[in-house]
């Protein structure tokens, strides 16, 4: 049994999770990472994706986040998400709307840099949709 550490998932509207957990999988901007106790201090932005929280009691919960960043210190991990919901509460229509918006953004982009950014965001969203829809 791995050591537990403090994990907090915060969205601007409220504090979603504040608990002792065993491990957390975070969709970092440069790849997924699993955070466990005594992790080296890292600050990373996150892309839209699924956060998997494994509680100290062994139960596992999954949350969908849309961008944000994570602040990891040896004593704990704080995830500041732009918007976060539990996977079971995800609103399909909302996700579809976000994808639609991202598509429009990609179409409207003025220069290459903005377009590649928008397209990247769109692909992240569609991957996310694929990941949670069967669940």
């Amino acid at each position: 049994m791995a050591e537990a550490f403090k994990f907090e998932l915060v969205s601007p509207e409220r504090l979603l999770v504040s608990a002792e957990v065993e491990s957390v999988v975070i969709p970092g901007a440069e790849g997924e990472m699993t955070v466990m106790a005594h992790h080296a201090p890292v600050m990373t932005t996150i892309k839209p994706g699924v956060v998997t929280v494994k509680a100290a009691s062994g139960s596992e919960e999954r949350y969908v986040v849309f961008g944000g960043f994570a602040d990891i210190v040896p004593a704990g991990c704080t995830l500041l998400a732009e918007s976060a919901v539990a996977v079971k509460d995800v609103d399909r229509a909302d996700l579809a709307r976000r994808i639609q918006e991202a598509k429009e953004d990609a179409a409207d982009a003025k220069d290459d840099q903005a377009r590649s950014k928008a397209e990247q965001f769109l692909s992240q969203l569609t991957t996310l949709e694929g990941a949670i829809l069967p669940a």
Binding site: E8, M43, T44, T45, V73
Partner: protein, 294 residues
């Protein structure tokens, strides 16, 4: 001298008003509790955001790669004021206090020969500022239809501001809102959000603040992502504080109104009773003197 019937009508109408103000007070009290809860729920995020920002700024150490939103344009010729007020009146001096602070600010800036642009959030502030500075108002944001304030509302306002900044429409952006101190006290506040005056927060507030962070991606890149978000958070906080303040102000205003109505009813009742008694006495005298004359 009003007749007895007039007085009776008057008392009935004041009583009806009292009932309305009483109901409004109770509604405001219930909404205040919800607004306060929302403001409290949002606090962890903005606190964390502040500490993270302080950490990163420290890491960058004021290097050249700080984004423009943070350093500003280096000028202060054009000022953008975002004035956040309530959508509805009947809340005492709440809206006019914010508007007065904004107006003083505008007058000072104009006297210094600066250019001023205004974005109004909320109908009341727009109504007040429109009288004097209609030509300066760029835009107004209407939150009348919004039932519960969400982060999306704040985000939309922040995006608008950032978009204007990127177009070079202004140099300095100040946010006007009312800070919620307590139910009876709201302090109108002006807060500069662009360039972001990053508080040189002491690192001891952060767990492991002295640790050497690894950044993924580069600190500058995180920062350029973080600053716009921080602006949204500041706007969101201002809106929430405003919502709580509005309800607090409305509650005390309506409490006063209810009490005034009560006083008025008492006074009117006394006049009514006196006049009725005078009429009875007058009739008695008429009867008695009529009997004596026989």
């Amino acid at each position: 001298m009003p007749s007895l019937k007039d007085l009776r009508n008057r008392i009935a109408s004041v009583k009806a008003t009292q009932k309305i103000t009483k109901a409004m007070q109770m509604v405001a009290a219930a909404k205040l509790r919800r607004a306060q809860e929302a403001a409290e729920a949002a606090r962890p995020y903005s606190e964390r955001m502040g500490s993270v920002l302080a950490n990163i700024t420290q890491a960058i150490g004021g290097g050249g790669d700080a984004p423009a939103l943070m350093t500003g344009t280096g000028k202060d010729n054009v000022h953008l004021l975002v004035v956040c007020t309530a959508e509805r009146g009947l809340c005492g001096g709440f809206n006019s206090q914010i508007a007065r602070l904004a107006r003083d600010h505008i007058r000072r800036l104009l006297a210094d020969g600066k250019q001023v642009k205004i974005i109004c959030v909320g109908k009341k502030g727009f109504d007040i500022l429109r009288r004097d500075y209609a030509s300066l108002i760029l835009d107004r944001v209407d939150l009348r239809e919004v039932k519960t304030l969400g982060f999306v509302n704040a985000d939309a306002i922040a995006k608008k501001v950032i978009h204007l900044f990127n177009e070079g429409a202004f140099d300095i952006c100040t946010l006007f809102y009312s800070q919620f101190k307590s139910v009876i006290s709201q302090v109108p506040t002006a807060q500069q959000i662009i360039p972001a005056g990053v508080a040189s927060a002491p690192a001891e507030a952060v767990d492991g603040g002295n640790a050497v962070y690894e950044y993924e991606p580069e600190p500058g890149e995180i920062l350029s992502d973080l600053i716009p978000r921080n602006i949204s958070v500041q706007v969101f906080r201002a809106l929430l504080e405003n919502a709580a303040g509005e309800m607090g102000a409305k509650m005390s205003a309506m409490d006063n109104a209810t009490r005034n109505a009560g006083e008025m009813i008492n006074k009117l009742s006394i006049t009514y009773n006196r006049q009725r008694q005078a009429q009875i006495t007058k009739e008695l005298i008429e009867i008695i003197s009529g009997a004596e004359a026989l």
